[in-house]
Every structure is written in structure tokens, then in C-alpha cells.
């Protein structure tokens, strides 16, 4: 993670931040009025912030989405009014890269399920860097089915590079596990709100993102493959990831335009981690508003609208072809 382009830029700010802090402390301890100097430094600091983060390229957004300090699913879930974690796929294993359970959000009982990467190396190892195994997707399906039975709305947090690509994941039918997730969310007769809070990588992210309403953080990304994966697939050269990121249209604005994302949650200058408190609150508010609106719908209408929403996604030329042969 040390070659994160956002983290690199932030290093340039550290010295300035330190100097402002020192000056403030000095000013407080001494009778000298240093407010002019402080204001000047802060203005400079803000100018640099704007220069560094005012406009982010897709590649920079990829790194923002992966920023080690970016709020993770549990940072959001811990701000719910209450959370009781449920574990396990009931068959083989509890996959720590998926966190889920009952929760109260603004006094509303919900089922919350999120992909959870680690906030340090040790946790990352335990949580497999947020890449779920089939057991994680099966836990997800189980909790979603439970929510549907008990008529609890479902809230998901999406934050994964993708599904785990290891040997045992293949042996345990990763494809089937993801397909079952997709089917479960497509047919669950309760409102579903998904929030793309970090990296939304490929089918492994989509498995938690079929929803009546999809929210996305301003600097999150969501793409058909990771830029590295895309570059490897198309050009057999993962180092062309920046180019791939530019082409993939993986930013919130792009996806809002395509209709993949319904609402964008603003982030502070420099990214969600610079004011996690505010971002989390804003996100939970948006989820709550969405749920209030969705709760007004009948399950039938909800399901039908969900179907139509995904049914319509995509664009194509429709032209009557001169038949190349006449079918019998």
C-alpha cells in the first residue's frame, strides 16, 4: 500500500500540518499574536489541498478508494445505533472478510452485510484483504434470505478488490456462491440499499450490490475488473493499469450517468478519511432516506422495479438486419 499515489501526496502535507500545529501551540503559549502567520500557512495548506485533491484522475480515485485510512464497512456499521454480528455459512467456515448481522439504523431494524478489509496488516491477513471466499458469499446469501424471511430491509457495504481467487475458492465453487448471492438479492422481497464505500471490484463486489438503490461515495470506484486485472487481460501488462483506469469509466460520476449508481455521497477535499465522521453520518442518512422511500412500496412493486432497473441497464444498437438466411 506504500505505493498508493494518494498516500504519497499526503506525505507532502505532513510537514505543513506539523508547522501549523507548532505555530498554534506557540501562539497559545506566548503573548505574541501569530494569527496572521497561521492564517497564511492555512491558506497555503488549503491551496495545496485543492491542488492535490481538487480534481482527481480515475487512477487517483482508484488509490483513494484503496487508501489504508479510508473508512471500512465496520466503520460505518459501528455507527449504526446497534449491531449484533451473525456468523458462518452453516456449512464450513465463518469468513471474516464478510461481516453481517442484525442492526438498528435510526431506530429501524435492518440486516447489514459488508465486505471487510483489514485496517492493518494483521487484520488484512485475517480478513483476506477483504476478498471473500465462497463461504463469505454463502454467509451473505444466508443472511439475506434470513432478512427476507423476517421482513427486514437489507443494507450492504461494498468494499473489495474482488472475490478471492485462490485454489480452495475454486474447489469450493466460487462461481456458484456468487451466482447464488446475485439470485438471492435479485429475488429478496425486502428493500435493499447498497453503498459502494471503497473499491468495487468485479463480480465479487456485484454479489453484494444488487439493490433497489445503489449509493456510491464520490471517490469510490466500481468496475468490471480492477485496472490491473483489465490491463493484464487486454494487454497482458498489469503495469498499464493507469491507462485501464482511465478507460474503464469507474468513477461515481460515470456510473451515475450510466444508471448503475443512483446517488453520489460527497466526500471532503482529500477523501473520506479526512472527515470520516461526517462521511459516515452522511452515508447513513442517505441510506435511511432511501429505506424510508422504499418501505412505502409493496414487495411486488419493489421486486418488479428492481427487475426493470437491471433489465434496462445497457445500451445497444437495434437495427433490423437483412436476414442472412431464413429460418424455417
Amino acid at each position: 500500500m506504500s505505493n498508493n499515489v494518494i498516500v504519497e501526496r499526503e506525505k507532502g502535507l505532513v510537514e505543513l500540518e506539523r508547522r501549523i500545529t507548532e505555530l498554534r501551540e506557540a501562539s497559545a503559549a506566548q503573548p505574541l499574536d501569530m494569527s496572521t502567520e497561521i492564517a497564511a500557512l492555512e491558506a497555503k495548506y488549503q491551496a495545496i489541498l485543492r491542488e492535490f485533491f481538487g480534481t482527481l484522475t480515475p487512477w487517483q480515485k482508484v488509490h483513494m478508494a484503496r487508501h489504508p485510512a479510508r473508512p471500512t464497512s465496520l466503520d460505518y456499521i459501528s455507527r449504526f445505533d446497534r449491531f449484533d454480528e451473525l456468523h458462518g455459512d452453516r456449512h464450513y467456515r465463518d469468513d471474516p472478510s464478510i461481516v453481517g448481522g442484525f442492526a438498528f439504523l435510526r431506530s429501524r431494524a435492518v440486516m447489514v452485510i459488508g465486505q471487510q478489509r483489514g485496517r492493518d496488516t494483521r487484520e488484512n491477513l485475517r480478513r483476506n484483504f477483504g476478498m471473500p471466499a465462497p463461504e463469505g458469499y454463502r454467509k451473505t446469501s444466508r443472511l439475506a434470505r434470513l432478512a427476507a424471511r423476517l421482513k427486514l430491509p437489507i443494507v450492504t457495504f461494498v468494499d473489495t478488490k474482488g472475490a478471492d481467487p485462490g485454489i480452495s475458492s475454486e474447489e469450493h465453487a466460487q462461481s456458484e456462491a456468487i451466482a447464488t448471492c446475485l439470485q438471492t438479492f435479485a429475488t429478496a422481497r425486502v428493500p435493499i440499499v447498497a453503498a459502494i464505500i471503497g473499491e468495487g471490484g468485479s463480480g465479487g463486489a456485484l454479489a453484494l450490490a444488487i439493490a433497489d438503490r445503489v449509493l456510491m461515495l464520490e471517490h469510490s470506484t466500481y468496475s468490471v475488473a480492477s485496472p490491473e486485472g483489465c490491463a493484464a487481460i487486454l494487454w497482458s501488462d498489469a503495469s498499464k493499469a493507469e491507462e485501464a483506469a482511465a478507460r474503464l469509466k469507474l468513477t461515481a460520476d460515470d456510473l451515475r450517468r450510466f444508471g448503475v449508481v443512483d446517488e453520489i455521497i460527497a466526500e471532503p477535499l482529500g477523501g473520506a478519511h479526512r472527515d470520516a465522521e461526517a462521511v459516515v453520518t452522511r452515508t447513513l442518512d442517505a441510506i435511511d432516506r432511501s429505506l424510508t422511500r422504499l418501505n412505502a412500496e409493496s414487495p411486488e412493486r419493489l421486486l418488479d422495479q428492481r427487475y426493470q432497473k437491471y433489465r434496462r441497464l445497457g445500451e445497444w444498437r437495434a437495427e433490423s438486419l437483412a436476414p442472412t438466411g431464413t429460418a424455417q
Binding site: 485462490g166 485454489i167 466460487q174 444488487i210 468490471v224 474503464l248 441497464l313 438486419l321 442472412t324 424455417q328
Partner: protein
Amino acid sequence: MPVPEWLPGRRTKEAAQSNDAAMWSKCPKCGEVLYRRDLAANLFVCSRCGYHFRMGAYDRIVSIADGDFTEIGQDVLPSDPLGWSDKKTYPAKLKSDAERSGLSESVVCGFATIGGFPVALGVMDFHFRGGTMGQVTGERITLLLEEARRRKIPCVIFAASGGARMEEGMLALMQMAKTTAAVARFMEDGNFFLMVLTDPTTGGVSASFAFQADVIVAESKAMIGFAGRRVIEQTIRQRLPDQFQTAEFLLEKGAIDMVVDRRKLKETLVRLLEYTSPNRVILSEATPSEQSESKWSGVEGRVREQ
């Protein structure tokens, strides 16, 4: 296999050349030199070692349907939502693949009878963009499932796919959601969904409609998985055993129902359709090809009675 009237002009150049007795292919497994005409007559299976060559969509349809096929969704054609361009523009890639394969997209969908049973039939083709799923792939498969649901007939899909198509970005990925939802609706009504996995089936196709099916048949030795072999090897930093991700491996791991040699495939599909047909009857012990010729029936949903 007699060539149906509607076929000429729809096949890949390579397949079309199969009538030219002088053209030959070399078996990549055993090295045998195989004349195209013989190879096509043998369903593109090496007569020496049984190696299954990848098959074009229309060749597949000819080998599976009873001779009839009414295509749908041909007027749904790919666009360029991302304005993609790398070494070539995306439209240019589409054009050259269309010329090379004779296809307008990575899947051909339509209605046919198999052993007398009317079915919705979707066939993916690796020769078009590596069988990747783009918006048109998803739309055609969804149209097929919706119409099959309306007609209350089984749906048979042949998968062959490298996954979701990069050049259409998230709109390609969203086809996983779209097709999955269509499959779920189709199956909720009690309809039969039969999947045939062919070499290779991976990624977004594998992880959506392919593994939702009631019964999953795979062709011998087909490579099937979620992640590509290279990706896994890079992750674990070691070489995978050859057997890994083959159809036979998946059978042992409980992921699929059966592995079938292509030369037995039609027979197997007919048997499976018989169990789930509304008028359940056992066909005579005649071979499927004999049956299909003698019992040909129109495509418009007429259920075979006996």
C-alpha cells in the same frame, strides 16, 4: 449431419471451409492431422484422441437442434458505451471479430426443437471477443429467458466465455445482474433450466447464469472456473496441476452434475428434457439423430405428444 437451409452464410469461415476436403486442422493434443470435413462430421472432436475443438455457435446449433432454428435478438447489436480505444477502437474490434466469426455478438439465441422438444436455445461462441459477456450478450439471453418463460418451455444454454467484457466496463458487469434476475424469474415459474458448460467458461458468465441452472452438464475436459488460471497462479505463486478447473475436477468437487463427451451430448440433452417435459414419455431406444429426423416438429411451442 445434413446442413439446414438456413445455415449457409451464418457459420464461421473456418467451419464454412469444412466442405472443402483439402482443408485440414492439426489436433493440438495428439498432433493428428484431421481433414476439416471429417472433423466437422465428427462434431469437431479429434477422431484419434477425443480432443474437443472449440465449436462455432451455428455449428453447435446444427449439432444439437433437430434441424430447425428461429433466431431472436439479431437486431440487438453492440454499441460503444465507453468510447473505448486501445490499439484499436472497440468498434473496430467488433467488426473484425464479426468478420472472422460470422457472428454479430458472442451469443446466438433462438428457438429450436431438440429430440422433438421445443426449447429456448442460447449458444455462446468463444470466437467472438472470447465469448465475453457484453450488453448485447446479456440482452439477448434475457430476451430468450423472458420468451421461454412466456412459452413455458425449457431453456438450454451453452456457455463459452472468458467473463465480462472489459471494453463495455460496468455495463458489461451489470449483465450478470440482469441475466441472473431473468433466470430467477424463469425458474420461479417451475421451468427447467439446463446448462452446458464448454471450454472455457469463467468469470462473469460462470458466476451468474451458468451456475444457477437446475442441471449443469459439462463437456469433457472443458476448463471451468471463476478466476482464470493465470490469475490464480499469480496469486499463489506456483503452477497449478493440469487437472485443476477441468470438468472432471469439478465433477469430483460436486460443482456440476455430469461430464459428457460431445458425441453423446445431444442424446444426453434429449434424455434430460424427457424427464422434465410436461408430457413425460420415454422415447424409443432409437438414437437421437434418427429420432430428431423422424420426429421433427415446428418451432412454435407445439409440445410433442405420443
